[in-house]
Amino acid sequence: MSKVTIYSTPTCVYCRMAKEFFHKNNIQYTEHNVAEDDAAREEMVQKSHQLGVPVIDINGEIHVGFNRSELERALGLK
């Protein structure tokens, strides 16, 4: 099974879309709210060199933003 981590903020719609996509496809994920969790924010920036959410880590592969077909591919759904 894929190890999925999402770095998000509560106000970001694309984060919500990504999480809804995970639910629909029965994908387990860990979520870090980087609006509150400074350590997670640093980790996100380290991993992705990004300062924008969502950042999604699938088995160590970093995806920036919510792109359904890209995630389907990364998770082997299609």
Binding site: T9, T11, V13, C15, V34, A35, L51
Partner: protein
Amino acid sequence: MYDLIIVGGGPAGVAAGVYAARKKIKTLLIAKEFGGQSLASADIQNWIGAKSISGFDLAKNLEEHLRAQEEIEILDGDFVAKVEKSKGKSFKAVTESGKNFEAKTVLVCSGSHHKKLGVPGEDKLNGRGVVYCSTCDAPLFGGKTVAVVGAGNAGLEAVRDLFAYADKIYLLVRGDAMKGDPVTLEEIKANPKLEIKYQVEVREILGEQLVTGVRYLDKAKNQTEELKLDGVFVEIGSAPNSDLVKDLVELDERGQIIVDHKTQMTSFSGIWAAGDVSDVLYKQNNISAGDAVKAVLNIYDHLNKNK
């Protein structure tokens, strides 16, 4: 061959899709995504029929309403790169993924996009401190120093979003006055975190991995200066997504598609446009939906006449 291709999945495109399906017009709707620009809005309070709805839920409702129609084909996740003239009076829509579709008529509901500054460093640092969605990303700038570029309402809103997080916020204004709502302006001016700089023209966004600052022209002093920053929020308005038909239809000086406001017809017979991509005076969800309905009813008449 379709009777109609609708481009767009915002309020205009979806309203058009629902009406086209109910009129049994053989239709294909192509949308990059559903919901349109207000997707990012936390709370929309003027979508008629809903006292308060998030952009996310509005997008879901729109998509559901469209998918409930049996008489329509939907291609989502793809993007119409170009609409071309095809054989006879028909048109060909070419998508980003290389697909081709033909139709007798086209309705362009492609909306508009966030304008970029168009300065060096901006693209490279997009998502690395350069931000176009303040509601989404303001929380990432806790304890940081940031600048908001743009003095319209969107700029003022971004400043407000940032008060809760950033330590210091510069508002960079190109002219010597603000354009946004005076009440909001008074409110934000009272906050000591804010410093407004007038007569500023951003020339470059600085940074390698992440934003470290901006270089700008101080027009009053006619001197180039630098500011140290962790983030740059770009809020300088929007521009229409009219590229796909720019070789066929007449556009105004801002790139908006000129339409006949009675029928939504463009200057090119067989192509209609509605919503924010058109030269409609007021850009609103309800107006976009209504104008698109107008367009479909007119397309229906046109198709019947030209059977």
